[in-house]
């Protein structure tokens, strides 16, 4: 049956009728079925009738109500409260005893108006709040860096304390398993850059310099950056979700009361794994980018040896090492911020989602800022 028909049918199940007000008395007759389906049909009319009548006395003739459930009782309670608030009299006549009992149990002794959302704060207030938030976040970050450093230094002194098995499995998940996506992204990046560069460079007969472009950008700039962004998306988020879930499931508390430091136990293995994997992934990304570039070069008729020599000539060891150093630092940042966000998780499933998002966003922001700092430092160092 179509919903429209159903509404029409229900309409026939309940009748609402009002007389007056005459001599200050409004007489309302309700008969039929008052249930969750039918009550809605007469609710607005009933409420507006009572409001509009503004009568001293309201008498409801309920003798014709054959059935009345929670929804129907709610309507009667609502009408009663409306009338009471105006200081008038309210009477229900003829309601069957079983329904009357329900009604007596339902004193509306609770706030009927919900508080609603707190008032929106003004722009100035919002800026202030957010600034404070950022400031607190920086403080937490600084103290976390301290804790992490202590953890890592302890690792250097007592390498056997590290949970190497965890570190290895993280290394596999964050490193080995990331190879396909890193390969795909870098290969395509190399290919596309080379292709786009080939068009303008051909006008000058300078296609050979595509090799310089691809070599420098993939090994020194874009390779480390893209790898770190992929790491943030794949592993930073995973770290935050893992640790966040542990926090929600009280596993972090369990570690603490066992006397095991969560930073040493959970964060250090992840950071170590990420730190060793990121440079390797970056090298791999650079290689794949170069291969992508070569596909274009070879279609332009350059042999591999020419491409190889040109890249070798363009990319100094400094650039290569500089790229790897960046990757190393990005690895620490992404893993650390992922773990920090995980440990900061509040309660509930939403909180895990929030920390995961925050891990990726803060990871990418940190990577970008750090990349800028590196550009400056390398410029002054003449790398």
């Amino acid at each position: 049956m179509a919903p429209v028909d159903m509404a029409a049918a229900s309409h026939n199940d309940v009748n609402f009728h009002s007389e007056g007000p005459r001599d200050g008395t409004l007489k309302v007759t309700i008969d039929g079925r008052l249930d969750a389906d039918t009550t809605g049909i007469i609710w607005r009319r009933a409420v507006s009738t009572i409001k509009a009548a503004n009568a001293q006395n309201v008498v409801i003739d309920a003798a014709g109500i054959e059935y009345c459930d929670g929804a129907g009782i709610a309507l009667l309670v609502q009408l009663r409260e409306l009338q009471k608030r105006k200081g008038g009299n309210f009477e229900i006549a003829g309601l069957r005893p079983q329904f009357a009992e329900l009604l007596n149990d339902s004193s509306a002794n609770f706030p009927t108006e919900t508080k609603g959302m707190p008032p929106r704060e003004g722009i100035a207030e919002e800026i202030g709040h957010n600034t404070l938030e950022v400031w607190r976040d920086i403080q937490v970050l600084v103290s976390f860096v301290g804790e992490l450093s202590v953890g890592l230094i302890r690792t250097l002194i007592h390498p056997r304390d590290v949970r190497w098995r965890d570190a290895l499995s993280v290394a596999e998940a964050a490193g080995v398993n990331a190879l396909p996506i890193v390969a795909l992204v870098s290969f395509l990046m190399g290919l596309i850059m080379a292709f786009q560069a080939a068009i303008p460079l051909r006008q000058f007969g300078a296609q050979l310099f595509i090799a310089n472009l691809i070599g420098l950008s993939m090994l020194r700039e874009l390779g480390p950056l893209m790898t770190a962004v992929i790491l943030a998306g794949r592993s930073g988020s995973a770290f935050a979700a893992e640790l966040g879930t542990m926090k929600v499931r009280e596993e972090i508390d369990a570690l603490k009361t066992m006397g095991l430091d969560p930073v040493r136990f959970l964060v250090v293995p992840r950071v170590i794994a990420a730190v060793f994997m990121t440079p390797l992934l970056t090298l791999f990304a650079g290689l794949m980018g170069l291969i992508g570039g070569f596909v274009v070069m070879s279609s332009l008729g350059f042999p591999l040896i020419t491409y190889y020599h040109q890249v070798q000539y363009a990319v100094s060891y400094g650039s290569l090492v500089g790229g790897l150093v960046k990757a190393f630092v990005f690895g620490i940042l992404v893993a650390a911020i992922g773990c920090l966000r995980g440990l900061q998780t509040g309660t509930g499933a939403t909180a895990v989602g929030q920390s995961t998002t925050s891990a990726v966003v803060s990871g990418i922001i940190l990577i970008t800022i750090t990349d800028g700092i590196f550009a400056l430092v390398y410029y002054y160092l003449g790398v």
Partner: protein, 269 residues
């Protein structure tokens, strides 16, 4: 019911106040828990039971006052001193909190691996014995996710007992478990209390469980932000004049029409 042990006080709560963001939850609590007793913390939802427990195990610092475990204040020390106190107790969390990435026996072995120099085969043996004690020897190599709720709880008890603690804290021992499983857990607590003389501090609101295992109870109240009753469960049930306590023990509703609730069956003690 075993008679109330008259041991030395192993936990002392002195003028303890707990607050979140300046909002006081518990105020000026004073009580002692004696070595070897099963001590239950009761109260309705939101009265601060779990808050009290989390302060006792040192996860939070008291806003005022102090909590002494075996004479030492866990909130006041750090490093090795704190470690020494932590070693004296085990904690059973509401959800069990077994580490999801490890098998059951790895969970139980973890504290042994981290804090002892025992050889691996010794650790495995001890861990297996703990698991056998809680009836989970067959499940040793399963992951926590493969265990039922009751098994997870028992596994968590085995882990909490790994280093032979003097005290076991338990947050909602039988939350979300069927009556049979929770009765099994009660028996486990009783037998551990009896054989190993472990002190139990249990947060709960399960009446049958309280009657079966608790030597003494305290009852907290949300409005009062403190203790409204202390004594044996029988004393509180039979002699307390406080309506809130009577309501709790006689399972009455808070409204005036709830007068006809069943009296708990007390023949078990």
């Amino acid at each position: 019911m075993a008679k109330q042990p008259n041991g030395r006080p192993i936990i002392q709560v002195q003028d303890f106040t707990a607050a979140y963001d300046g909002h006081v939850v518990l105020e000026k609590l004073n009580f002692e828990i004696y070595a070897g007793e099963v001590f239950a913390i009761l109260g309705g939802s939101g009265c601060g039971k779990s808050t009290l427990l989390k302060h006792m195990i040192g996860l939070y610092k008291p806003a005022a006052g102090r909590i002494l475990i075996d004479g030492e204040d866990i909130a006041a020390v750090s490093g090795d001193e704190r470690m020494k106190i932590l070693r004296k107790f085990g904690v059973l969390y509401q959800s069990g909190a077994l580490f999801g990435s490890m098998t059951l026996i790895e969970n139980v072995s973890l504290p042994l691996e981290e804090f002892t120099d025992l050889p691996p085969e010794a650790i495995r043996l001890i861990a297996m014995m703990r698991l056998q004690r809680v009836g989970l020897a067959q499940a040793a190599d399963l992951m926590p996710a493969e265990l039922s709720g009751g098994m997870q709880k028992r596994g968590a008890i085995a882990r909490a007992m790994a280093l032979d603690p003097q005290i076991l804290f338990m947050d909602e021992l039988s939350a979300g478990l069927d009556p049979v499983t929770s009765a099994d857990l009660d028996q486990l607590v009783l037998s551990l209390s009896h054989s190993l003389k472990i002190t139990f501090v249990i947060v709960t609101h399960e009446l049958p469980s309280i009657y079966t295992i608790a030597h003494r109870v305290i009852m907290l109240d949300k409005q009062q932000k403190g203790i409204i009753a202390m004594g044996t469960p029988q004393e509180l049930r039979d002699h307390s004049r406080d309506p809130r306590v009577r309501q709790f023990f006689l399972r009455q509703t808070s409204g005036e029409h709830g007068t006809s609730s069943a009296q708990p069956n007390s023949s078990a003690h």
